[in-house]
């Protein structure tokens, strides 16, 4: 059978952007496709032992962000009604709110709760599922040095750090190669 390979470049280090590469990779692997994720630039934070626990959602510069209160909050009497009213008035958090200290943490907490209420897996869970499905997780050597991250600062079970040539060679070895940039 012809080999099919999906290689995903994960370059972003926010909570929302951590998801697409992990969801696509774990799913592709479960469909029988050889899959790898190349973590470069801020994407490295998603596989960094400490920083992966502090991934955040940025309300600033994100006009598409909905003012979404977690379903569990909306079911609470009074507080839920207030939340509903807020959502009706502001379709999204006003951009100005992003500069208020603590707002990024608040929005992140709200998003995490919303995800939990909706049965969306956590980043840690998805990484485990990727590993179980034999997704190759490759940290980018150059950005590791740029950010001063050592291999042991990163989570266990990764491939050795690689560069652009390693990555492109891995993809093109397949009969049917595919690359996604996230």
């Amino acid at each position: 059978m012809a080999t099919e390979r999906l290689a995903i470049i994960a370059s972003k280090g926010t909570l929302d952007w951590a998801y697409p590469p992990l969801i696509l990779a774990s799913t592709a692997a479960s469909l029988g496709i050889e899959t790898a994720i190349f973590f470069t630039f801020y994407g490295l934070n998603v596989i960094h032992k400490e920083k992966m626990k502090q991934l955040k959602i940025a309300p600033v510069g994100n006009p598409g962000m909905p003012m979404a209160f977690p379903p569990s909050v909306k079911k609470t009497p009074v507080v839920g009604q207030l939340a509903g009213l807020m959502e009706a008035i502001f379709p999204g958090p006003p951009q100005l709110m992003g500069v208020i200290p603590g707002m990024t943490d608040f929005m992140t907490a709200m998003m995490k709760k919303t995800m939990k209420d909706h049965g969306v897996a956590s980043v840690e869970e998805l990484i485990e599922l990727c590993k179980e499905a034999d997704v190759k997780l490759i940290p980018c050597q150059m950005t590791m040095e740029l950010f001063g991250y050592k291999y042991e600062d990163l989570i266990d079970g990764l491939e050795p750090p690689g560069g652009a040539a390693t990555f492109i060679n891995y993809v093109l070895e397949a009969d049917k190669p595919m690359i996604l940039f996230v």
């Binding site: 969801i23 774990s26 029988g32 897996a121």
Partner: protein, 79 residues
């Protein structure tokens, strides 16, 4: 009511994309070829995703039942 009997049931109620597909794959690994897995899901996305998973992996989607906000799939493991 489904016309097939399942050898195993996987309930993914409350879970969202991509978990129903990933758990289906794992559950199928524990079955013998020809055995049938029943997958219960509340994720509307699974309505398209489970058939896509079956098409891709070669397992046979024998029947799909939709009742009371739940999607129930009967998947026969490929031989």
């Amino acid at each position: 009511m489904a016309s097939v009997t399942a050898d195993k049931t996987l309930d993914t109620s409350g879970l969202n994309c991509p978990l129903p597909v990933l758990k289906t794959k794992k559950a199928l690994e524990e079955l013998q070829p020809g055995q049938v897995l029943e997958v219960i899901s509340t994720d509307p996305g699974s309505k398209a995703d489970i058939p896509a998973f079956c098409q891709r992996t070669g397992h046979e989607l024998v029947e799909t039942v939709e009742e009371g906000g739940k999607y129930i799939f009967y998947i026969k493991k490929k031989g």
